[in-house]
Symmetry: D2
Subunit: 346 residues, 4 copies
């Protein structure tokens, strides 16, 4: 039984980790960390867990936690994990960091986009970018996982095969993304009130969202050359789900089959990436509550562009689900354990 500690267990991503791990047959949460709710019953904060979780929230003490658990998930804002991690801890416990601290290899890029000093740059190199479909073997051996961001996961998986295979010109890539509101977290902000979010859609972070350099770094690695993109996220009046609509110019005339083959090369054996049938557009509702990413594309011969689409649950494959998938790989458990939930509809 893998003993699990969660730092930040009362945020939305933390809550989703708890939901998923309660259904995991080889893991058990032994430390519900939540600075804001120390000594309160976890099920008081998340009433859905009533009679399922009887534990009380503990402080976010990584050092103490490291003595008691096999793996720590940090589901906290950026900066916290980097400020707590050290060699002694890493020798005792594996860490899966859901924040951005270890995602970007160039520390100056991280510090510029996030506006904070990195407190543990010495671990950036070691940290494995935990996009399981991409870095499966490295994940298995890692001590420290940088669990990918929600937008980057969906964006990257939607376009990766075509960048890798050189079918599209990466310099023309434009990613227009739409997210449900749980991505904004459980903080009490006017902007996230029901009456502000409902019956509304807006872009935000235009030409400046922090997930941009993360996507660019991964795309650059895939392309073998530096890639700059436009990435525009939008807030949609729904709880869960990310939809990516990506545009790029094709490098040459291609037919549907050729592109399909390129996607299949990377995803055919991937359980969690579903290439839809021709002409079906991914919809967030078909993956809700699950770890699946649905992907498809459409060629526009009029403009010689290709439109690539992906849909995903931001709290599952975009956060807690991918984190559990990483844990499974790190501990040699079946990769899909605890993640076989059928998407919920309606």
């Amino acid at each position: 039984m893998i003993k699990v500690g969660i730092i930040g267990a009362t945020g939305y991503a933390g809550g989703e980790l708890v939901r998923l791990l309660l259904g995991h047959r080889e893991a058990k949460i032994v430390w519900y960390g939540s600075r804001s709710y120390v000594d309160q019953k976890y099920a008081k904060i998340y009433q859905n867990m009533f009679q399922l979780v009887n534990d009380t929230c503990l402080d976010d003490n990584m050092e103490e936690m490291a003595k008691q658990v096999d793996v720590i998930f940090t589901a906290t804002p950026q900066g916290l994990c980097a400020s707590l991690v050290n060699e002694e801890i890493l020798q005792k416990v594996k860490i899966i960091d859901l924040s951005a601290d270890f995602r970007i290899k160039d520390v100056s890029v991280y510090e510029k986009w996030y506006g904070i000093e990195h407190k543990a740059p010495q671990y950036i190199e070691e940290a494995v970018y935990g996009l399981c479909e991409l870095n499966r073997e490295a994940v298995k051996k890692a001590r420290l996982i940088a669990n990918p961001g929600c937008y980057p996961t969906c964006s990257f998986l939607s376009v990766y095969p075509l960048v890798k295979e050189g079918l599209i010109d990466p310099g023309t890539l434009i990613i227009d993304a739409k997210s449900g509101t749980s991505g904004a977290g459980r903080g009490a902000k006017v902007d996230n009130l029901f009456c502000e979010v409902n019956e509304n859609i807006k872009a935000y972070g235009v030409a400046g969202h922090r997930h941009t350099p993360e996507i660019e770094e991964q795309l650059s690695l895939a392309a073998g050359e530096p890639v700059l993109i436009n990435f525009t996220p939008h807030l949609v009046p729904m709880q869960r789900g990310i939809l990516v609509t990506a545009y790029a110019s094709l490098k040459k005339d291609v037919a549907y089959e050729e592109v399909k083959t390129a996607y299949d090369r990377y995803y055919e054996k991937e359980f969690f990436v579903r290439m839809l049938e021709k002409d079906l557009c991914p919809q967030t509702r078909w993956v809700e509550g699950s770890n699946f990413v649905d992907v498809n594309f459409k060629i526009d011969p009029r403009t010689n562009r290709i439109i690539m689409m992906g849909a995903m649950d931001n709290l599952v494959k975009g956060a807690a689900g991918q984190a559990v998938q990483n844990m499974n790989l790190m501990f040699g458990v079946d990769e899909a354990e605890g993640l076989r939930m059928v998407p919920v509809f309606p």
Copy 2:
């Protein structure tokens, strides 16, 4: 392995049966019946099942199905199950009917409220009303289960202990219920369009909803005397969930503890019924996607009334989940198998 056939597999309740049974370790769906979609891939109708279900829809042929399966779920409008069932079939297969056909013992009441002639009145007596918490032992031995309606399940479980224990005057009972829109089914009706349902709440079926006699019959059995109630359902702009707010006059002065004890007497050992802590109101979101019913009450000493509340997922405990719970009881499987899902939040 229990072999399962579903008649009406492409409605919302049918889809939920599929979702639940895919996670059931001792059952396997072998017949996806759907008159409207014969020969089409099931996963084309419910794209969430893509790569999880590869089966094709078959006709709703109960006779043929009875030869191949151990249990048939009928998730169809009232009238169909009664028109198909016969002795030959019942000798081969167990039937769990999610429609109203066998819920009401007095056939004239059924025919009056539903406005159709009952085609198999000879099985009404035999059919067991499948509210598992109430009729567990009878369910285990049944051939034919009348799976309770969504409103009746939530209404009955919210008030049952107090009726049974004689704490409230059943003649004063008023049940004000609120339901998500999935209860209205997947039929293409203007009234159920997004633009008609959203930003709206309305009562419907006032003083005439068909679930009224079903609730009354069960309450009458519990009270030991005929009970007439007011039952008013409302349509709420959400997908899933039923909330019941019930009012009744107390027969005598009671304290919180006495009422709590009465509830505990019936529910303390019930996994799926959760009595909340004092003063917490049930919310549909804390049970969403799960088979739980959350129940609580509040005494109003000013009016000498008690307000009883219950929250439930109409597609799970109110339909498919309870149907699976009945199946588990009938086949001697752990009652909660396939139903241990943690409620999804947010």
Copy 3:
């Protein structure tokens, strides 16, 4: 031109006052008061007003405001208006208080339910309860209006004729109300986040909501005897709208026509109260954005009860619209001026 000042112009009710008054041909807002946003452009807070309102927010200074305006609306939490009002101010300006400060005649009841000391009890007697359809003549002569609460307006108008005419037993009255989320205000609270409100319904303030004594006082006046009721509000995932479903026992056998006649006696000439045709249930969406209250009823001969229903926009007839209606009456303007908006659908 009536010069208007608003204290609390940046709350939801304040914003709605601005929206309505911008379309009013005989009133002009000259003071946008908002303690939290002093010196900020009003249209920065409510971007819908961009290029329509160029004013800057001022402090909530009632004394200074009284020198410059003809009428002050206080759209603030309870306690504020009572703490600011005095004789000097009332001699200069009319006040329409949207808070609860002057709604309840018995100051001890106010202090008990609201948990605060009343700072200006000497004006309670003078203040007119501004339910225009009930107190039209008194409103015209008033200096100080207690603008009714949202739930009380909808509850009272739904049941008033039958209480007044003695058709129902007021001691049996149960009011089950449902409200959109704008009623909870624009404060940054976790409970009102999109992800907490959406896909959810819950009761709150059960047997203890502060609007209870306000409803009871008005009903007692109508009945000519003390009336105690059960009132249960619910939070619905929509922005605007209140629906009331009220239950009471009939005092005698009545036919539809007799009840209809009773309603017509009070509402036939009322522009803003619409008695629906037989068997149509009020829906919040048919009044959204307007000052209308839609009312209807259904007799249940089985239980000898009557179900009374009303639908209203909580921000219009339940707050800002009724306040403007009161202003119109006080200043001798056409009662419907600024309030003839057609309900918005969808």
Copy 4:
């Protein structure tokens, strides 16, 4: 008083025309046409109009209507207006066609994208594309107006000044649009049910939506050269609103001020187009229920692209509002008459 007839008065756009015209001081609807609801009270179909509209629906008889009214709005699917219009009618009455029949000058393009034969190609040349801000003078003199599509209006107004001024390379233009569900109409389709639309976002009509050639034609006229674009619409779980996010490469290095000046050149005097302040992103909720289009842009120096954004109410400026604006121009009435509604929030 302008006498108005509406063909298709019971669709969502028709209903919005009625709402707007009821508040118009110089127009009066005398013919509510609706083939599906002939002889039924209009207010039965749209209960929000109860006691505001007492008329009964008549047939969609354009010939008869032309004798009784000054202007006909056709709010029907494509094909109908073209099949009814003729010289005799056009000599009696002005026509504002909300369908696509006369929007595209090249009849072969129309017939290809819409898949139907054009029944009145002889009027295409004469018809004026009723984007008031673009063709104001021509509209004033027109007999037949092609009222623009919802997506084209928002798309065009978001990018027009930069195309016209040659600041962007029109060949790089990508338009990613998001719409509320009312754009899909009031037809009873499973895809538009609440339970299918809610908690979901999807692209549709990818690389093939019919509004593409309409946008391209107008952009080509503005650019002075043929323009092909990518246009991708998405369905968002909200009732009203369109948001456009458009991307293009800048032809040269430009600063914020230069671009702002270009927009101002075209929009500064336009009441209904609001250029937002720097860095504010348009949101659909700030224009809901109104005829405004909110526009803004953001330069990305990293990629040398510009992101242009526009938000609009699809039923108002995207359909009925723009139609009324056209009527006002045609009849010499104040262009904003009946359209001064403040956006509704929340």
